[in-house]
Symmetry: D2
Subunit: 322 residues, 4 copies
């Protein structure tokens, strides 16, 4: 049992199996962990169960919310909680100014509270490290869906990946390795050069109508309407569309339905298809982030700091300061 | 439309979606195809539907039975048939001596009939070409099951393949490509050398107890009891065992159950997980086999032949002659 | 023969086999190409040979200098020229204000001239597209050197890649595919996450002394002194260091020599190990860049433009305007 | 220091760096090793240097000759020996009947002597284990030659592998992994099915003229004249032919020369391009073979044995008994 987090009080509010693994790791590292939104028997030995969000947050230096975050009106995703778990202004206005609040992606109201009440809000969902590690269960989950839905093998199939960011790259590697003929559609010439290096064919968005006409499987990763009615009307009737972009995805599902095409919106795969791996990702990254941020905040306390809200994507600039 | 099978009458008895693709291909190649065990509307334009097995076989130069073959008492696998489709001695005693009868794997009674009634029985299930091509959907199906059953990703997992024949090699490539740490258990030093070349760790059967103690997923391909009680009692409680060997597999499922281990027998994957690909495999291989065998039999008719009913494994020696 | 560059006069000054392929492509696309620094018989039919730099540049709308650029005092790399080819202020002060000058990487004096004389200077060496495509011959060249210099196979070797940018990623894929055990050393957690996804081990710069103590081959891609005396003193005596960073590399070669270690500085591999592929890369990218820049400059002529020198790395911002 | 070979006297006659690694391993395992054909200072501590072949063989239970064997008139390959090392009938007629003589591949005269003088001759070069492990340095060496000789990258190249045995399979994996478009030419449909599974295109020998007309690199592994004048006259003038088959290869080098084609005969690559890896292969396999054979011979001594001089290919049947 290490003690790098010794003496630090961390509140974990809601989540799923992933948070259970994270909690266990935080306890191992010496933190005092108080948990809301899980039954006592689910929580690893050494952590404390709180009966409510406000009790968990009391005195916490760090508050951890789930990667999927909250609904627009503050309901925290908490799959093991029988009651609704809610993040209220009352609670958040009462936490200490130095509190580090970690969440996958924050709704507007939470960013506003960070500004008003001065807590440090850190959105980690778009950090490269988290997003790239999570791209592994996402890509495997997408392939699992493709295997389940199709009547052909990935090997020898014609697949298309729309968008070549963190998920697209991982997916290309997996599909290519399994023997699919992969075409990557992207705007950026540098991304297309990387796709070519990885053994994929390259195409532009203008090529999409032609590509969907012969593709067996299309994976979308772009969070804009890219597979629209105009594109879909050219689609191979046997096509399978798997949309991995954040809700509502980048597919015109209504049009797909009208054309009789199989199109599946599949957000949040890591927690669903590989909760243990996804939990280990959190457990490997979040403690490091906590240590880094707390030590940075301590320095700022000593040497003065500048205000300014929000910002994210990169640990160096990701904290919303009060 | 090619005509290499022009004028040849072929009976297809039972089967599933794979045979539908095969039938379509045979028709395209000019054969006269008569089918039993499928409703008229399922069969591709150009083929004839027969109301019974004996009618389909009448005058056929080639009779095609499904890869999974028949039950011990002659029931032909025919998933689209409402009535039981049965291969009777009456029918088989009435077919011409030169008839080529193609089946995945023949029961003893059929081999006997080939001897008695002199038809040419060809078992194609164990031919390298068919078995290696089918290893692709088998491996993907096995990986799909692993993805569905496990709470971790294949990437980063510790997997073990028991047996390194046609399926084992394909599985090793796929698992390795997805980022699993693969250990191959085999007896043959040459096979182990190949596993090493492919990036796998090598182990012997004596190492199995140790290997199952830390493996996340074990794939068995050996059709003997290799994952027995003695081995399983050392298994990681979270292990997932996927047994791909012909029924009854090589796992002591009763012991697995007693130890609370997840063990799945998964035979006949190609037709289940990728029927179209599996059908295309048949469509690419069976016509070539027919042409080869018919031309060989013609030569033998001209130059005389030796009797003797045989097994198979190799096209050159695979025909049981009357 | 396409004609997208029809009517455009392009001067190509110096270079090697790559430029010969580029010249041929430019001619095919309809450009009027005038070449200095190559003997007449080397140049593809349809291009014109100029006897001197000033003559080639006369009236040119586009001037192409080699990827490696010029020496600090203006000598242009021109492997097929018997005489020294030199870029003088006299010539560059005389070219039209709208001239597009393309070069891999520009020395300070050339950037100054762009400011003074108002030509459009475009550095393409660090553009993602060029750099990623060139990472393929670079990685293969590095592996070729490793194969030539080592007495072991890449398969089964312990290799280390220092830096995980465009070259590092390509190298990791190639080495992993050949069966090497690859460790990636980088600072950025996102890059390390990608390395992990690709099947590599991850390490920080602080781990370097330990890593070099057991590695068989180390590839450096970082253009700072990272393999310094302190690191090298721990190195496996049989180690092979291949430094791919721009001259003078990131290795203390003097220390390596003093410790009896094999260390090789290998800059500019694409033109050396695969000139035809490297030439095709230029031929696939440069015409597109020319069209894009000329059309952008035309728009600016119509709608007015802002001055400001240099900048590069991205086509959108890469042109130094007068 | 293990002692599994303790008390066993082994003579090593000639060889190269590989044998030095093997000698070192044999010493570590407790054998008494006497060496001819190497200078004293080359041999690892613990082994004995003999001044001549007969002295080394005196009393030896095992005699190890190099993988490449001897010339037709008995000259043993011994790269570090200043004098010619020769295997004479005098020496071999004097060794004990139970002596195990290990060689890569034996000339006719040596097989005859095994029959006459009753020693146990074991040819290991064609054993699957040795041949598959050696296929790794062979494939890498072939790729190194291709990289050195070509002006393009392996990535994106069109390559062809003729023959799909132990070397062909390894080569296909490496080339495919580096991004080459690989076509495999073979006769056996099972081998072609495996090639397809590995992502290669499949072709027959009849397709060779067409294939060589567009291929960049052709690797031959078939020890018969397959790349003959008729095939070569269709070859792409820029083709590079690398012939890996045992001398004299399967290429009509004279015709290649007449047509101005680059064709390279490259036998015996493991010892040349990766002597340390190749030596480790011997060191990992040969001691196991010795133990297995000696224990089998001991059993036969106890329970009687049948005479008959034989070839090899399989350890179980590989020993020529007197």
């Amino acid at each position: 049992m290490s003690s790098v987090l010794s003496g630090i009080k961390i509140a974990v509010l809601g989540g799923d199996d992933r948070e259970l693994i994270l909690i266990s790791e935080l306890v191992k590292m010496g933190a005092t962990v108080v948990v809301a939104g899980f039954p006592r028997e689910k929580i690893s030995h050494g952590a404390f169960a709180a009966s409510a969000v406000d009790k968990a947050c009391k005195g916490a230096e760090v508050i951890i919310l789930p990667l999927p975050g909250t609904s627009a009106n503050g309901v925290i995703r908490a799959v093991y909680s029988e009651e609704e778990l809610r993040l209220t202004e009352e609670v958040m206005s009462g936490i200490s100014k130095d509190t580090l609040v970690i969440i996958g992606s924050a709704r507007q109201y939470l960013k506003k509270w960070a500004d008003i009440y001065g807590f440090n809000l850190l959105e980690i969902g778009e950090m490269d490290e988290i997003a790239i590690l999570n791209s592994i269960p996402t890509a495997e989950g997408a392939i699992q869906i493709a295997m389940e839905e199709s009547r052909i093998t990935i090997h020898g199939s014609k697949s298309c990946i729309v968008g070549f960011g963190r998920i697209g790259v991982t997916l290309a590697r997996c599909l290519g390795a399994l023997g699919s003929n992969v075409t990557v559609v992207a705007r950026d010439e540098g991304q297309l050069a990387r796709a070519y290096e990885m053994g994929c064919k390259r195409a532009s968005f203008a090529d999409l109508p032609g590509i969907v006409s012969y593709s067996d499987i299309v994976f979308n990763t772009v969070p804009h309407m890219v597979l629209d009615r105009e594109v879909l009307k050219h689609a191979n009737p046997e096509i399978i569309i798997i949309d991995l972009a954040a809700q509502p995805g980048g597919t015109d599902f209504e049009a797909a339905n009208a054309f009789g095409l199989k199109a599946i919106l599949a957000p949040g795969l890591p927690g669903k298809v590989a909760p243990v791996t996804a939990g280990r990702i959190l457990a490997s990254v979040v403690p490091r982030i906590i240590i880094k941020e707390l030590s940075r905040m301590n320095k700022e306390l000593l040497f003065g700091k500048q205000g300014g809200a929000v910002g994210a994507g990169d640990t160096r600039s990701a904290v919303a300061r009060g």
